[in-house]
């Protein structure tokens, strides 16, 4: 009974399954959604994430000294700023029911391009927008492949992933240090608040990206179209929404975010390396799912994804604080948490029906 509602999240556009898309599920869902479900239900997964976050903070705070300090929380944001940006971009794609596997390699490509261009003497003022643009262009290419040529997002972004990673290797196999004065001074800017709280350039950029994404998703026509496509592409098309443009644009948004993420990672590590970001796309997807966005699209929030990233970051922090646990426990715990959230989502979806 349940399997019919779980198509691969990849291809609502595949011509073969038109009857399915046009069926009762996608067309009827938003209506029932509005009339039967109270607003609080939409927030349930996000509230779940918030509870987990609070629990982790409480457990950490009670187990370790200095855990609930401004320094730890500040570092949480500083160390995960690039992942926040990636998760924000990924949220847009997943909300439409797609997926973007290319972000990890785009991070590496944008980082190593920045390092290589700066090394050959380009001014930082040119390099910074240029490397973000690299992400945008890759996103645009993916969007065109997905929309115009009707290649499933999974495969199109997989191709983009190989492409970006291959280009990284072409640029350089070695790690390139970044010594450009302007870039280093931008990267090392920080603002201290009191004894322990501090923010860096990358945190500021990440928060600005979150704010812009929040505005775009909840207060613009583009954002509403994103939700509408996730709820049912056919219905969105029949409503006269600009489905084509929006579907391409979500990949552009995700690519741009990956470009920014690469820049932040380059600031974080002061270098560019072609092997950065291997598996980072999975972290981003995990953060989005833990943050309450449903992979079939249509439900989820940018702020939820930010919470998801913080949960992932806190797992790492707790394992560091514990000291005796080996680093591979991080992966096992993230996998377990992912499972819990996915089952939670599943229960919510079943109950909604």
């Amino acid at each position: 009974m349940s399997t019919v509602k779980t198509p691969t999240p990849t291809s609502p556009r595949e011509p073969g399954n038109k009857p399915r898309t046009a069926g009762g599920m996608s067309a009827g869902m938003p209506v029932r959604f509005a009339s039967r479900i109270r607003v609080d239900r939409r927030y349930l997964p996000v509230i779940g994430t918030l509870v987990v976050l609070a629990l982790m903070l409480i457990i950490g705070g009670s187990r370790y000294e200095n855990f609930l300090s401004g320094r730890v929380i500040s570092n949480l944001f500083i160390n995960n700023s690039f992942l926040i940006v990636l998760a924000v971009g990924m949220t847009f794609v997943i909300l439409t029911g797609g997926i973007d596997l290319s972000v990890g390699s785009v991070v590496a490509l944008s980082g190593i391009s920045a390092a290589s261009l700066l090394q050959s003497g380009w001014p930082a003022a040119v390099v910074i927008p240029l490397v973000v643009l690299i992400g945008t262009v890759i996103g645009l290419v993916v969007g065109i492949m997905v929309h115009v040529f009707e290649i499933q997002p999974f495969i199109a972004t997989l191709a983009a992933m190989f492409l970006a990673r291959g280009l990284c290797y072409v640029i350089s196999l070695q790690s390139i240090p970044i010594n450009d004065d302007t870039f280093v001074s931008i990267a090392s800017w920080k603002q201290q608040f009191g004894e322990e709280w501090r923010i860096t350039t990358s945190v500021v950029i990440a928060l600005v990206v979150v704010a812009i994404a929040f505005y775009m998703l909840h207060y613009t026509q583009f954002g509403r179209t994103v939700y509408a496509i996730g709820g049912g592409e056919q219905s969105a098309m029949l409503m006269g929404l600009p489905v084509a443009r929006t579907k391409v644009l979500v990949y552009v948004v995700s690519g741009t975010c990956a470009g920014i993420g690469g820049l932040l990672f380059a600031m974080f590590s002061r270098s560019g390396y072609s092997l950065t970001g291997v598996g980072m796309e999975l972290d981003a997807i995990a953060a989005v799912v833990i943050g309450g966005t449903i992979l079939t699209g249509g439900t989820g929030f940018v702020l939820g994804s930010v919470l998801g990233v913080l949960v992932l970051g806190l797992i790492q922090t707790i394992i560091t604080f514990e000291g005796t646990l080996s680093s591979w426990w991080t992966k096992i715990v993230i996998g377990g948490l992912l499972l819990v959230f996915v089952i939670l989502q599943r229960v919510l979806v079943v109950r909604r029906r």
Binding site: T3, K5, T6, N17, V148, Q152, F162, T330, L338
Partner: protein, 354 residues
């Protein structure tokens, strides 16, 4: 497609076969290799074993073929299995840790028990994936993402974070041994391929799998046990991934929890898609998967042969994926078909006028 043409010539039937472009790509790769290295297609007999680039190609491709076979079945039910790489790592880690901890690493019994344990565990992992997808009803991509993320951690746990190396002649046979002049791994992969082909194409199983992929609910109403079928394909996929993992670890005689089978899930999915199996399920082609695996493996070999740094391989893979996907994309096919129809109509009109 070309119903407008009066009679479909044989060459046109050939070009319209869905495996035409993948096979052309494979032949092109072979030609490129032979030009770069005239000895590419040659085989020589040494110590009763066949040697040559082609044999290495087949041997290197066997684990990928095993994994891609399982993946084909999963994708045919409209699913996907991202966890095969992690299963590869776990299976290798379990087998090698068991052999390393045993008192007699080179006894055949030890090796057989190790292989048995590893395969049983892989089957359990596959069953777990199948349970999440078919019973709990989680989307396949995320259900298998759980094991993909946690699995490498588990493999690290088994090996204690070290790269376990062992010295065991019987286990080495699986990956680098020869039998009747051919690598043992090729026999394993070939045997599994034949078995799967027989079970799916000579019994109703293949059709049932495809019907579940087209519409699980309708299949269930028609009396197909869609839940058991979905569960089974994930279990089988896990088992095959475990077998692939054993061959990979036997090749290097080391269990590396971090790097064994890294990205092999992507290569397997790629091979399946290049072979013409649609990610939206409902139809699959085992022969296509075989061609896809050979393309991927040849691509890897080609890059090395042409003297390009092996790290550029992803770039070539990207180009091949994009080219094959574009060639298969409905838009391009329609455009080509439309032009062919127009051409046919013009020639007909010309004949009439004459």
């Amino acid at each position: 497609m070309s119903t407008a043409a009066p009679a479909t010539p044989t060459w046109q039937r050939v070009t319209q076969h869905r495996l035409f472009w993948p096979v052309v790509a494979l032949v092109a790769l072979f030609v490129a290799n032979t030009i770069a290295n005239p000895g590419f297609l040659s085989l020589r007999l040494q110590d009763g074993h066949l040697f040559g680039a082609l044999i290495n190609l087949l041997r290197g491709g066997s684990p990928l073929l095993l994994i891609a076979l399982g993946m084909t079945l999963v994708i045919a039910t409209r699913g996907i299995d991202l966890s095969v790489g992690a299963v590869v790592a776990i299976s290798g880690a379990v087998a090698l840790s068991f052999i390393a901890s045993s008192s007699d690493p080179s006894s055949v019994t030890t090796v057989l028990v190790a292989i048995g344990i590893a395969l049983a565990l892989s089957l359990v992992l596959g069953v777990w994936n199948g349970f999440l997808v078919s019973v709990v009803g989680i989307q396949p991509i995320i259900a298998t993402l759980v094991l993909m993320t946690a699995g490498r951690g588990v493999a690290m746990l088994i090996t204690g974070g070290q790269i376990t190396t062992v010295n065991s002649a019987p286990f080495k046979t699986l990956g680098s041994g020869f039998w009747l002049g051919l690598p043992v791994a090729v026999f394993v992969a070939g045997g599994v391929f034949a078995l799967v082909a027989f079970l799916t194409r000579r019994t109703a199983l293949g059709m049932l799998i495809e019907s579940v992929g087209i519409n699980p609910e309708a299949s269930r109403l028609a009396g197909v046990k869609s839940r058991s079928i979905i569960w089974t394909v994930y279990a089988v996929c896990g088992l095959f991934a475990g077998l692939g993992g054993l061959i990979i670890s036997s090749n290097v005689m080391a269990a590396d929890a971090n790097n064994a089978g890294l990205f092999i899930e992507l290569d397997a999915i790629l091979a399946v898609v290049i072979g013409g199996t649609s990610l939206s399920g409902g139809k699959f082609s085992l022969a296509g998967t075989l061609v896809g695996v050979l393309i991927i493996q040849t691509l890897t070999v080609t890059v090395t042969m042409l003297g390009i740094s092996p790290s550029v391989t992803p770039l070539f893979k990207a180009i091949v994926v994009i080219a094959v996907c574009l060639a298969q994309s409905p838009k391009i096919r329609d455009a080509v078909a439309a032009r062919r129809r127009r051409a046919a109509r013009t020639s007909q009109a010309a004949e009439v006028a004459a």
